[in-house]
């Protein structure tokens, strides 16, 4: 369906059935009557439609800014020095500038997913037609596009309907970006509200991208038992030709996989992926393999495993053409977004391109036709693999020992390393023949290469580390569940009540990139901890890979140990980054399917519901990108708290509640209109956690919601207290803020807590029907 006015005027048109002349048809509004739900108050919100809602959140969760730099350098009036309260030449101060940077990041992120969606939808429409139906889970998923329905009021039934959705998104992204122009917005909270808007749009864009590809490419359809995928370099038969796909956009990979299968080569070669493309490849073809997250690009290329490297868009190292050339692996750039300076060979005959790449005449090409990418990649891989020694640029251990002797101990590597890794000390040891300290760095290194760039004697430090850890690398044989896509309506129905009442203590979404402070093990540990505690654990993107990269005592990965369904103790991989939309979608569906709140164009009410009732928390332990910023922003506007790992502090602004300010924690009781203090639940909207221990206590605490029943609250509190005691060695200092009646207190801790409550002068309060929206009060107070 379309919400747009349609006017068609045809003077003359030849069709199969004859000639039409002077047809004029004008339709004010097409309303798809098969969707009984009436339109809500805010379909297709503009920049300011939800500003009031944002301000409610922003007044509770005030921005804490940490500028990266004292300057603004965004226009030629500047650079401007914004220290000590100074305003720039355009009148801007550092608070507004800091929030403007957030808006810019979120706009870039939203543009990236939406642009991705546009490309996928355009391509799939070309291939499958505009009328190809949307199907994300057959009869199990009636609410096929919760975010889209909520935001736009559109219920997309066909691929063509998604175009209307994207047009809205693109217009809004244009508006958001525009507000970052010098001399527009001047107020930091207004910038923040616009960043929220970008985040909301981003969720729509992601949803469109994922439901389009699920509907057409035979991806798992909301399948809790999506296949388990081989993951890790150790699972790859490197004696076969290996095609390595890096990025996020599955379209070129589909070309590769199709061509490979059609040519009967499926058993003769390996298609492996890094980053989100890896996921979507495996959703399309369960014999594709996952190599690892974004941070493993260098190690895998330098390891020489790949015979051909295919780059699509997003999260691709921009020096990949360089790195691939060093190991003589031809590169195919396959995205308009990422041309890498290569010559566009889209219109050349495939065999000519193949010849040029195999002979090494050119190191890489740009091919914008996915089918041709497929043909060229497969042929090049087959032809080059036998003649190309799997060339590595990793030095051997003896070489490392010798080279380490040239290290000047200048510290520049460590000072350039985002992880502050003690490289000079490790090299010192290596020079003395002890590579153990280098090996220890393997897990912590995020593969950024900055150390090498900084080294005055050009030591290939990252290669040394990879070599020192090579054993771990080549032994990696793990399993990851293929991205299942959406959550089924029936799953929502089953868990809706325990979630909202608090009996399932929370939904933990562990998402995003691999910019971890100490390697991926933390992600695994956190996921397992909460799965064992029977939280629902949802993963996506690089984090979903890390979650699957370790095993329990029985040798089982997380995805084998826990069920893949949306239930207490489930561990679900929804899929690639764009599949993050299903996490928001699940929360929205709790409000809609379980609580029967109207969905269509009804953003505020749903967000208010989720914020007050759905104990969901996002953890982006290694978030690094603008996309991660916009994904977080989408959750903020829904009122869902997001935690980031230490590097996330570099997003430069947090949204922090103040549990010491009781006046900030009032909600309306929808039954009476009374204001009720519900405590800091949830305490923050965006917060950096410094250590995994802190993360665990914070997650448990952030799952608490005003609507928890006493039973739910006591369960949540017992997890919080337990984790806090374990990791902090003491009772939480704020326990009294979360006890409303004595029934909330976990039975086993009654005495201890009672004493605390007394000491704190605690008073019993009511459990309201909580809302931040005055209009939700059913009986207005006189």
């Amino acid at each position: 369906m379309t919400t747009k006015n349609v006017h068609v005027k045809i003077d003359e048109m030849k069709t199969n059935t004859g000639l039409i002349k002077n047809l004029e048809l004008s339709i004010g509004k097409v309303v798809d009557e098969s969707w009984a739900e009436p339109m809500g108050p805010t379909p297709m919100p503009s920049l300011t439609t939800l500003r009031d809602w944002d301000m409610k959140l922003l007044n509770r969760y005030k921005p804490f800014y940490m500028p990266d730099c004292d300057l603004c350098c965004l226009c030629t009036y500047g650079k401007c020095d914004l220290t000590a309260g100074k305003r720039g030449a355009c009148g801007l101060d550092i608070g507004a500038q800091s929030s403007r940077i957030v808006l810019l990041a979120c706009s870039i992120g939203a543009a990236t997913h939406t642009g991705h969606a546009r490309h996928v939808v355009d391509h799939l429409i070309e291939k499958y037609g505009r009328r190809h139906p949307i199907d994300v889970g057959g009869l199990n998923v009636k609410v096929e596009a919760p975010v889209t329905r909520l935001v736009t009021g559109i219920r997309p039934e066909t691929l063509g309907d998604l175009e209307d959705v994207l047009e809205y998104c693109e217009a809004q992204i244009t508006h958001c970006l525009s507000a970052a122009h010098t001399g527009q917005e001047g107020n930091n909270l207004d910038f923040e509200s616009k960043a929220f808007h970008a985040g909301m749009i981003d969720q729509v864009g992601m949803e469109v991208a994922d439901i389009a590809q699920i509907s057409t490419l035979n991806f798992p359809k909301a399948d809790p038992e999506a296949p388990l995928i081989q993951m890790g370099i150790g699972t790859v038969d490197t004696s076969k030709p290996v095609i390595m796909c890096i990025g996020h956009n599955v379209v070129p990979s589909v070309g590769i996989i199709d061509y490979m299968k059609d040519s009967g080569l499926a058993d003769k070669m390996e298609v492996v992926g890094l980053c989100c493309t890896a996921f979507d490849n495996t959703r399309y073809y369960d014999r594709a393999k996952i190599v690892g997250p974004i941070s493993w690009q260098l190690r895998f290329v330098r390891g020489g495993f790949a015979d051909v490297v295919v780059l699509d868009e997003q999260c691709v190292r921009t020096d990949m053409f360089n790195e691939a050339e060093r190991v003589k692996a031809p590169v195919i750039a396959a995205s308009e977004k990422n041309c890498m300076g290569f010559k566009d060979r889209t219109n050349d005959p495939a065999d000519e391109i193949v010849a040029d790449l195999v002979s090494g005449k050119v190191p890489g090409v740009l091919i914008l036709d996915p089918d041709k990418v497929g043909e060229v990649a497969v042929k090049v891989a087959m032809q080059i693999a036998p003649i190309r020694k799997k060339m590595r640029v990793l030095p051997n251990i003896n070489e490392i020992v010798e080279l380490a002797k040239t290290c000047r101990q200048c510290n520049l590597c460590q000072r350039s390393c985002p992880q502050d890794l003690k490289i000079p000390a490790a090299l010192k040891a290596a020079s003395e023949g002890n590579i153990a300290p280098l090996t220890e760095l393997y897990e912590e290194c995020i593969g950024c290469g900055r150390c090498e760039e900084a080294c005055p004697v050009k030591l290939q430090i990252h290669s040394f580390i990879v070599k020192a850890g090579e054993r771990f690398m080549v032994e990696e044989t793990n399993l990851c569940r293929a991205g299942r896509g959406a959550v089924q309506d029936v799953e929502i129905r089953n868990v809706g009540s325990p979630i909202v009442l608090g009996e399932i203590p929370g939904i933990l979404a562990v998402v995003g990139c691999a910019n971890y402070p100490h390697g991926g093990k933390d992600v695994y540990d956190i996921c397992r901890e909460f799965a064992l505690r029977r939280y629902i654990v949802v993963t996506s993107g690089c984090s979903a890979m890390s979650a699957g990269s370790y095993k329990n005592e029985e040798g089982k990965t997380l995805y084998e140990e826990f069920p893949g369904s949306f239930e207490a103790g489930g561990v679900l991989n929804v899929g690639s980054c764009v599949a993050n939309s299903h996490i928001a979608g699940a929360a929205i569906k709790v409000a809609n399917i379980f609580a029967k709140r109207p969905l269509r164009g009804n953003y505020e009410e749903i967000a208010d519901y989720i914020h007050n009732r759905v104990g969901a928390v996002g953890l982006a332990w290694g978030a690094y990108s603008q996309k991660a910023a916009s994904i977080a922003a989408g959750f903020w506007r829904l009122g869902v708290p997001v935690l980031v790992g230490p590097h996330g502090s570099k997003y430069r602004r947090m949204l922090l509640g103040r549990e010491d300010k009781p006046e900030d924690w009032e909600v309306y009781d929808a039954r009476t209109g009374d204001k009720v203090n519900v405590g800091p639940a949830p305490e923050h909207l965006f917060q950096t956690v410094e250590t995994p221990q802190e993360a665990m206590a914070a997650i448990a605490k952030l799952c608490i919601r005003p609507n928890d029943t006493w039973k739910g609250r006591s369960i949540k509190l017992s997890h919080y207290i337990d984790l806090h005691k374990r990791h902090y060695g003491t009772m939480p200092p704020d326990i009294h803020l979360f006890v409303r009646t004595m029934a909330d207190v976990p039975m086993t801790m009654k005495d201890e807590i009672t004493a605390i409550l007394e000491a704190k002068g605690w008073k019993e309060t009511v459990i309201p029907d909580p809302t931040l929206l005055p209009r939700m009060i059913r009986k207005k107070k006189e």
């Binding site: 940490m66 990266d68 402070p517 502090s649 060695g729 200092p733």
Partner: protein
């Protein structure tokens, strides 16, 4: 090593920390402060000097100087294990966020701190929080007790070795009554 930011790109731009040339300078400032506070991060147990952990030096210093300690992350447990009770504990961002609020009355509710000491946070996080305070808490002075130069602080030690660090911490401790 010198007064360059420890992480190469963590420049401040126009307003840079003064160098603490010797520990006595820091001590004088701490003594002059009416309401100092010491924020201790998760590196407290990650850094070792002369066989002791940073946290042990901090405890000595805190006991001697009587500067109240705020432990970030899960550090409170580490302090408690060692028989030292911090004045408070909270997330690093939370303490930063309270420090920029002029109405915040401190951990004891008696008044806003006028000096915040930082030690042992991940370098980049500490840098960012110090920047937040530089920009948004104009009346607050900040000192980092790390051995790494922090341009966003009001005062910072230059980059130094572990030995220098240990020595600085010990000298500082010794200059307070409780440290003798």
């Amino acid at each position: 090593m010198s007064c360059e930011p420890w992480q190469c790109a963590e420049i401040a731009a126009t307003k840079k920390a003064n160098a603490i040339t010797k520990p006595e300078v820091a001590v004088a400032m701490i003594k002059r402060a009416a309401r100092p506070i010491l924020v201790v991060g998760s590196n407290a147990t990650e850094r070792w000097m002369e066989g002791r952990q940073l946290i042990d030096y901090i405890i000595d210093f805190a006991k001697a100087s009587k500067v109240p300690v705020v432990a970030t992350a899960h550090m409170v447990g580490e302090f408690l294990k060692r028989g030292f009770e911090p004045a408070g504990f909270m997330s690093a961002m939370d303490i930063g966020n309270r420090l920029v609020d002029p109405t915040w009355q401190g951990l004891d509710g008696k008044g806003h701190p006028d000096l915040a000491l930082f030690v042992g946070l991940p370098y980049y996080m500490e840098a960012l929080i110090l920047s937040g305070l530089k920009h948004f808490a104009p009346d607050l002075k900040t000192i980092t007790l790390d051995n790494l130069y922090h341009p966003h602080a009001t005062w910072s030690y230059p980059n130094g070795t572990l030995e220098e660090w240990a020595s600085n911490l010990k000298v500082m401790t010794s200059k307070f009554e409780g440290g003798q």
